[in-house]
Symmetry: C2
Subunit: 669 residues, 2 copies
């Protein structure tokens, strides 16, 4: 059990006793395997028990102290990883539980993968060992002050000089300043810099270059390099531990062989040549990065839900009708209708994330076999899942905070920081709206090819059933009929397809395809979301159709799957009705069934969040404590605020006493 | 024009020139009168030009410095108010533009109104002059650690002791600690404390008491009083300037006459007696406080929208099809479909807020005339409007932040702080869900009385048309038909009423009314929201049916009114379809018309936010600058971060160099 210390009280014991399933087995279902539970648990405890990894003071540190604390934690984590000879899996988990954004994330998460994906074998041989041992620290410098989403618009130049056999990296305008890269501002010694490659007077567009930024002797910026942090970001603590940076180049030369040359090269003479490696290889990295973002969504969401569920079981408000004890707010149907869909979403995103991991392997294998047939579909589906899960998670964390009433607004609840640190996931690695429009574009293309008989693949395969799905009638007659996965699946498929087909028709009516796409883009967002929600529902249904061991575990997951699907159906009821996929009556029945499902989830709610197996350290919330001993903890936390160092506040003599004593010097009276 | 200084550039000049209406006249429509524009502008400039009121460094201050800064600003504001002999209106605006939450807000906003509303004339005569001159500083101490929404569950006791003619105020449990009151932690000398009145051994429930907390000589807590701040809250800067406090009493005695005695008294002998003043009087204060929260919603939302619209006109991303200049992101239909409804909402909330101000006067007059007939309806409608506008505003601010892409995540965008400081409005003065359930209760009661012929009043009057509204058919045939206010009004009325009637039937089917209400409470929330959205739409329609002077002003407001209504209709399409108020075809037409309206709003968007007349100081956003000179400002702001004081960060020698040099002492290798 994931607790920091043997608890003396357990205010949630009755809740735990009431659960109708085996929590230990649910942990396995959540984590993926018994081994995964064990290693996660071990790493979580390792971090929680190490005073260097303390994080309860994070929101109280100044920016400088917070950054220094991050450097300290990163160094200490590395030390422990080496000392304990941790595996890659263990090291990754350890970093996750340290739970403080920092340069290490970009070093491992972006710098290394960029070199792996875009570097030649020779380049990999040279740079990766340096990175693996932290002899250099790297970041990923793509975004500029003036351009983010539109990578092709970047302005930084890398001009080849055949005289010196070097590239000259330069920032020609203010807006070409690199802006946002994590780890760039203070920590990194190197960066993969994206710049317009210019050779023989011609602009060949954006390419990546390994550029040293700082001296390895004293960490000072190299000549011609201006470096800084871009300033404070959302929240206290949160992402402010990261040194997102600004970088300007004043004609900085790098050797030619620091261009990442896997896909194309510049020769000694300055000729630009393509290699025979297919461009599609780059998709692999994108699928990899985005699947990890989906996995992170389920982590962030499950943390928020864990806090809100436990606190809702502790928090009592208003009496029962008969003057008995007060009601746990978790018993209110409105609390359930707001919270349980988010609990279900956490599980849904977890399982679709697991599936994406499989997809990544599948894509990699196919790439190796030079089979590019499913690549576009895989790319669309990861982009869309990234967008839908991060947007839903951001909203859900804030909803969990509101579900905790006033106390959720305190930093000690952990929820403000969880929100502030999470929300940029909706923007980085592709702005969610931009990504959904990409998905929509592929859906429109797929629809337009249906007539010509081209078979849609992977998660779009259902579109081949267009004849049937355009006219099928939902057979639900009773609320219980909505428990049938086939009914759910069909309704979601019909909704997604009919929306796509309708939209394609509207797009087709415009003067040009491009103009139609532009005019209908708000609708296209909805089309993309419908398609992605179908994928999430489908993968959840597939999951619960597998063998799942453990008393009651499968039943719980079935309930959550139904909650997720019927919640989405209710939330987007307009989609289902306007396309005639279901009748108003069937919509009402779905809502009725949803209410019944909440009743079934209720006794299991606390155990369902216990199954996430989070330590109190990782949760970082007095409201979400495993033992439920919320009030003394809240009270104790309060006194730690620096403002409580004195009873009479600083400023009393200057600004309060003169006011109270009517002694403000009034210059002009 | 509301600028801090004469601008040298205006990157938004072309946008401003393109506007098809008179901005100066729109300012009048927004502010309410020419006088209101003038005084707001004058106060805004007064604050913006005073270095004490600087606020661009707020997110960088430590908690203690931020609090001290707040004390300083409050004292300085008071000094200016007295020196310049400002009117109450001017003083209120000055405080608004100072824009830093602090004890003053509770002193004027809660302490004084509580005494006015619940104190006898004698008590008012004694305490109000002290408060008016800041000889005492007061706060409003109701919420406790264990109880917020359920005021009747508060545990603090006030036991009358006939021997001493005093009340003994006591905190019997940890959970009875007062917790949250703003201004309590450090600044207040007095509080209105809510406690269970106990006399002659009997508990008479919750009553208010004026309690001195601190010495007026040295500000130290009085004997038996424990005081502190409850700790950091959401965001940096934001609401952390406020000393939300914790307060415990250990048998603290106060004179009997410090019980607020307007509605009931305790006699010298300890008898509890009611006065002949009707309880309903208290509703007046609630309506007053909540109408000001609705007004604040439109302020917060308009600030966020102003930032997002201006930045979206500056921000360019992706080329045009023909290789011309890049596209302003404001031209993307998705950007418009996300942003323009929020712009329309800002105007909608502004006008419904104006109407609420009128309602408050109306209620006050009726109370004076002992006419209580509209009180419950007025109370429900303000509670509901508080809930709907604050929830929508909180979500909208975050959406505006996302609309600014990556840069919206920087504190210098102003949006993170705007969000963090705003969100508790969804919780304080009544948790929004709890409020909506109150509205729903009254709606259910009204429905149940329709049969008996009881005429619903005020904003519920439409329910009398039940016969008609239950069966009417929407007559819309073309997209343009949706521009007809009568069509919109009827669709919204039918939707609200049918949802209420359906829900009442479902509630009625349960074993008891109470159980039915409980089971159906998630649906009841939706019923309440539908009713309140109808009110907002109705008040907007009524507004644009008035005479509105100024070239093009009325046309713009008509467009925004239609945007708001059709956006709500599209967002809640399921409601309209499931109740059969409109057909799927009509729903699609509404959506089509919405797209056309965005095209009409587009050229006016920048001018429509200019009409809010906010100074750059008040906006506090480099992205929202009046002159649109965003990039140099962003760049400049970055360097102010304390982390940029040194190029090589603190911690390099301890934590980065040893890592890079492979010199981490590995204790166990
Ligand atoms: C915390 C954080 C960390 C980051 N880390 C890194 C990093 O390590 N390295 C790095 O290189 N970058 C990093 N970034 C930058 C990030 O990748 C960009 O912010 C992101 O790609 C979004 O681009 P943008 O900021 O230019 O947004 P914009 O594209 O300017 O978005 C503004 C608005 O325009 C809309 N929009 C844009 N294009 C279109 C279109 N074609 N159609 C419709 N709407 C459109 C968007 O939806 C949005 O509403 C980071 C950003 C953040 C916030
Ligand atoms: C910034 C801030 C400033 C404040 N300032 C003051 C102040 O100056 N003075 C003061 O006295 N107080 C103040 N408060 C306290 C505030 O009034 C309470 O937080 C608020 O009333 C909500 O109560 P709660 O915190 O007990 O929430 P809870 O009632 O505990 O809410 C928790 C959850 O339970 C749900 N819930 C509760 N009851 C029901 C029900 N009957 N049916 C369905 N669901 C229910 C809620 O919807 C919510 O989801 C402040 C709070 C904040 C955040
Ligand atoms: Ca300024």
């Amino acid at each position: 059990m994931a607790m920091d210390a043997a608890a003396e009280v357990d205010h949630l014991a009755a809740e735990r006793a009431a659960a109708r399933f085996d929590v230990e087995e649910m942990k396995v279902a959540w984590a993926g395997s018994r081994h995964a539970v064990e290693v996660a648990d071990r790493m979580a405890r390792l971090v929680a028990s190490d005073p260097v990894f303390r994080k309860d003071n994070r929101t109280m540190l100044s920016r400088k102290d917070l950054f220094k604390d991050t450097l300290r934690k990163a160094a200490h984590a590395w030390k422990r990883i080496v000392e304990l000879r941790l595996t890659e899996e263990e090291a990754g988990l350890l970093r996750q539980y340290v739970d403080q954004p920092g340069y290490v994330d970009l070093h491992w998460g972006m710098f290394v993968p960029a070199i792996k994906g875009q570097g030649t074998e020779e380049q990999q041989k040279k740079w990766l060992p340096l990175a693996y041992q932290f002899q250099i620290i790297g970041c990923y410098a793509q975004t500029e002050l003036g351009h983010g989403s539109n990578v092709q618009g970047l302005e930084t130049t890398a001009t080849f000089d055949p005289k010196t056999d070097e590239f000259v990296i330069h920032s020609p305008t203010l807006t070409s300043s690199k802006w946002w890269p994590g780890g760039l501002g203070k920590a990194s010694t190197h960066a993969v810099v994206y710049a317009r490659l210019i050779t023989e007077g011609k602009d060949y567009g954006i390419h990546g270059f390994i550029v040293q930024l700082r001296s390895l002797e004293d960490h000072s910026p190299l000549p011609g390099v201006t470096l800084g942090d871009i300033g404070g970001k959302f929240g206290s603590g949160a992402y402010n531990s990261m040194d997102n940076g600004v970088l300007r180049f004043d004609h900085v030369s790098i050797p030619r062989d620091q261009m990442l040359m896997r896909l194309s090269q510049v020769t000694r003479e300055g000729k630009y040549v393509h290699s025979d490696v297919p461009k599609q290889l780059l998709y692999g990295t994108m699928v990899y990065v985005r699947q990890s973002i989906v996995a992170d969504a389920s982590k962030a969401l499950s943390r928020a839900v864990c806090i809100a569920v436990r606190y809702s079981a502790i928090r009592k408000q208003f009496g029962s009708q008969d003057g008995g004890p007060e009601t746990q707010v978790l018993n209110y149907k409105t609390q359930q209708s707001r919270l349980f869909p988010l609990l279900a979403s956490a599980y849904a995103f977890r399982f679709v994330g697991d599936w994406l991991k499989w997809l990544y392997t599948d894509v990699t294998q196919k790439l190796d076999a030079k089979d590019y047939s499913t690549l576009q579909e895989a790319h669309a589906c990861t982009a869309g899942l990234k967008a839908v899960t991060t947007s839903a998670t951001a909203d859900a964390i804030e909803e969990c905070r509101k579900l905790c009433g006033g106390h959720g607004y305190l930093n000690s609840s952990g929820l403000p920081e969880l929100f502030a640190v999470y929300v940029p996931a909706c923007t980085y690695e592709g702005d969610n709206v931009v990504l959904l429009l990409q998905v929509a574009r592929i859906l429109m293309k797929t629809v337009s090819q249906l007539a010509s008989g081209k078979q849609p693949v992977g998660t779009m395969a259902y579109m081949a059933k267009v004849q049937y799905l355009m006219q099928c009638k939902c057979s639900v007659n009773t609320a219980e009929d909505w428990l049938n996965p086939a009914a759910i699946q069909e309704a979601f498929e019909a909704r997604a397809l009919r929306m796509a087909v309708n939209c394609a028709q509207n797009v087709g009516q415009a003067a040009s395809q491009e103009e139609g796409f532009y005019e209908r883009s708000p609708d296209l967002l909805e089309v993309a979301v419908a398609h992605i929600q179908l994928i999430i529902v489908t993968k959840f249904i597939e999951k619960v159709q597998q063998d799942i061991p453990g008393h009651g575990v499968k039943e719980q997951l079935q309930n959550l799957c139904n909650v997720y699907a019927l919640y989405i159906l209710h939330k987007h009821l307009g989609d289902f009705l306007v396309t005639g996929c279901i009748t108003p009556k069937q919509g009402a029945l779905a809502n009725e069934q949803l209410g019944k499902l909440y009743t079934q989830v209720r006794p299991n709610a606390v155990a369902l969040v216990d199954a996430f197996d989070y330590t109190d350290h990782y949760l970082g919330s007095v409201l979400g404590r495993y033992d439920g001993n919320v009030y003394p903890a809240l009270y104790e936390e309060a006194w730690k605020d620096p403002l409580n160092e004195t009873v009479v506040p600083e400023g009393y003599h200057e600004y309060l006493r003169p006011l109270l004593k009517q002694q403000l010097r009034l210059s002009r009276l």
